[in-house]
Structures are given as structure tokens and as C-alpha cells.
């Protein structure tokens, strides 16, 4: 039987790798250490496949066609592409996809009437994959299946719906007859304001509130958050914790151990790395 062998939550921001020199060195070093510890634990769990819960930043989905949830069915994913590599100061590389696995997930969702995923055979990822995976998978040895959630173009699926979606993915994994070791990684958040009049603001108090609830697996206050409450306290970038809710939905009762949290003003993001365990 397939099983979830690892789960992690991280932030993503292009400047984390793109401009490491502009941050306070001690903050950068603590965050990087958190990423490295996640990488160590992820490798020790020996997964065969990483399911990535991420979001588009209007790179892929236009306002003429905006899915709430979309499974990637591509053969591979640029993480980063040649264009993104310059900004993110990373080496361009392509990670293998697993379209057959993604298709099975898609079909199970449709058949069960629980989650009607959209799907895409070609994605143009940005920092949501490239930056965290540059730390977590420095060698492109594992295939990925991304599940994209609309966190950027309101109206958005509710936090509770994202948790339900993740719960469905978790159930799908645990009912697969194949012997598979699956890792789940969500990226995004915590608080940040991008492109709004408050661009650059970080609300570390709210970030700690989020992390504290995840540490106790006390999710109800998070799942009850409305779009407007998140926008007020966590900014438009804070909406990305929907990806975190999906992973937490897949592993009921698991608790999140924050390995690092740094409100890095120069990267305009409250940055965290969280290991999630039973």
C-alpha cells in the first residue's frame, strides 16, 4: 500500500535565493538552516514521489480560465526555467513529472464526486517550485506531481475546502495498492503583501499565531478564516497558506514543528520552514 512518509510546509519567494545578500545574514542563515534540516529529514524518509501543493501567480492561468484546483499532468517542470533562473539565481533544471499518477488522482476525484480537479499538461512554474526545491531537492532525483490551488485571483476556494481537497489526496494515496512512499510539500505564505499599497509589510504576530496552531494541530481557527480576514492580517501573499491547509488535511492530527521562522523585510515575506509529523 502507498503511504505518506513525509510532510513539510515552506514559504516561497524569489528573493530568498535571488538576493540572499540583501537580507540580514543571521536571518538568512537561520532560514537556510531550516531548509537544510527539512532536506535532511525529507531524504531520510526515502520518498519515491513528492506531491507539491503550490499556487500560480498568474503565470499560467489567466482571468479567462481560472481553476480552483489543478493537477499537473506534465512530463516535467522547469524549476526554474532559464528566464526565472536569472532572477532567482538558480541553475535552470527540469524535474520529472508523473502524469500517470496525476491522472489517477484526477480520475479518482471526478469518479468520487469529491473534488473536480482541473488539469494541465503544460505548466510554467515560478518560485513556488524552484526556490523551495532548490533546498529540499538539490539533486533532481525525485519526480513531482504539483497540485495548484488558486491563492492569487479571488474569489478563492475556502481554507476549509483546501483542507478537504488535501484530505482527498491523502485518502487517495492510502488506498493505492502500489507500494509507494509519498512526500507532501506545500509552499507559500506566511504573511506578505505583494503588489498592493502595503507591499513590503510583514505581520510576524499573525505568522506566529498560524505556526502555533499548526504546532498543536489545532486547525479549526485556521479553517474558519475568511478571505478578508487573511487579507487584513496576512496580506494577499498570506492567502497562500491554503496550500498548507491541503497538506494538513492529508495527514489528520499531524503537528507542525517550525524549524525556522524569519520575517525577512528585504524579501518582503514572513518565511518559515515547518516539518509535519505524527
Amino acid at each position: 500500500m502507498a503511504e505518506v512518509v513525509a510532510a513539510a510546509l515552506t514559504s516561497h519567494a524569489p528573493l530568498v535565493t535571488g538576493k540572499p545578500d540583501v537580507s540580514k545574514p543571521e536571518m538568512r542563515d537561520r532560514l537556510y538552516a531550516g531548509f537544510r534540516e527539512l532536506q535532511r529529514r525529507l531524504a531520510a524518509a526515502r520518498p519515491d514521489l513528492v506531491v507539491m501543493f503550490v499556487n500560480d501567480h498568474l503565470q499560467n492561468f489567466p482571468y479567462s480560465n481560472m481553476p480552483a484546483f489543478c493537477v499537473g499532468l506534465a512530463d516535467g517542470y522547469d524549476a526554474p526555467s532559464a528566464g526565472g533562473a536569472t532572477l532567482m539565481r538558480l541553475t535552470p533544471r527540469r524535474l520529472d513529472g508523473r502524469p500517470a499518477w496525476g491522472t489517477a488522482l484526477l480520475e479518482a476525484g471526478l469518479a468520487g464526486g469529491v473534488i473536480d480537479f482541473a488539469y494541465s499538461y503544460e505548466m510554467d512554474p515560478w518560485d513556488e517550485l524552484a526556490v523551495p526545491l532548490s533546498f529540499l531537492m538539490p539533486e533532481a532525483t525525485l519526480p513531482i506531481v504539483p497540485v495548484y490551488t488558486n491563492c492569487a485571483a479571488p474569489p478563492l476556494p475556502t481554507m476549509r475546502r483546501c483542507h478537504t481537497m488535501g484530505g482527498f489526496v491523502g485518502s487517495f494515496i492510502r488506498t493505492r495498492p502500489e507500494h509507494e512512499r509519498i512526500a507532501l510539500v506545500a509552499t507559500g505564505g506566511i504573511s506578505h503583501w505583494v503588489g498592493t499599497p502595503q507591499t513590503g509589510r510583514i505581520n510576524s504576530e499573525w505568522d506566529h499565531w498560524v505556526l502555533d496552531h499548526i504546532a498543536r494541530a489545532d486547525l479549526e481557527p485556521l479553517l474558519s478564516l475568511t478571505h478578508d480576514e487573511i487579507e487584513r492580517d496576512g496580506g494577499n501573499g498570506g492567502q497562500e497558506i491554503r496550500n498548507w491547509m491541503a497538506v494538513l488535511g492529508a495527514v489528520p492530527g499531524w503537528k507542525g514543528e517550525a524549524l525556522a521562522y524569519e520575517p525577512v523585510a528585504e524579501w518582503i515575506t514572513g518565511c518559515a520552514t515547518v516539518w509535519v509529523h505524527p
Partner: protein, 71 residues
């Protein structure tokens, strides 16, 4: 719920997909898009605050008008 302007987001998406960063848009950039007079003024003056208020997506504002942001 936040205001959404499809016209603004459509023109900003078109510019962003050409990997262009602008201080302000030109009439050529906007040609063929059904933006209102207020939207046109905000686009051609690079008024990022007004664009946000008029319903442009902030990620698109950031991508197109990156030079307008202090950070």
C-alpha cells in the same frame, strides 16, 4: 469581496506575458482593450495604487510595474 476588473487584468496579463516591465503603459499597449477612462489614465500614468483600487490583480501590478515599487 475585492473589486476585479477583467479589462485591467487582461491588458496586464498581455504585457506580462511578453516579459515586459514598464514604468507606464502606452496607448499601443492598451490598444484593443476595453478599459474605462479611469483605467486608461491609471495605466498610462503607472499609478499602481489606483490600479489596485480599480481592481487590477496585485501580482500583475507587481510584475508589470516592478520599477514603481520601493522594495
Amino acid at each position: 469581496m475585492m473589486k476585479v476588473s477583467y479589462a485591467l487584468n487582461k491588458v496586464l496579463t498581455a504585457v506580462a506575458r511578453r516579459h515586459l516591465m514598464k514604468d507606464r503603459l502606452t496607448d499601443d499597449d492598451i490598444a484593443g482593450h476595453a478599459v474605462s477612462a479611469d483605467e486608461r489614465t491609471a495605466l498610462t500614468s503607472g499609478d499602481i495604487g489606483t490600479l489596485y483600487e480599480l481592481g487590477a490583480n496585485p501580482y500583475l501590478i507587481r510584475r508589470v510595474f516592478r520599477s514603481r515599487f520601493k522594495i
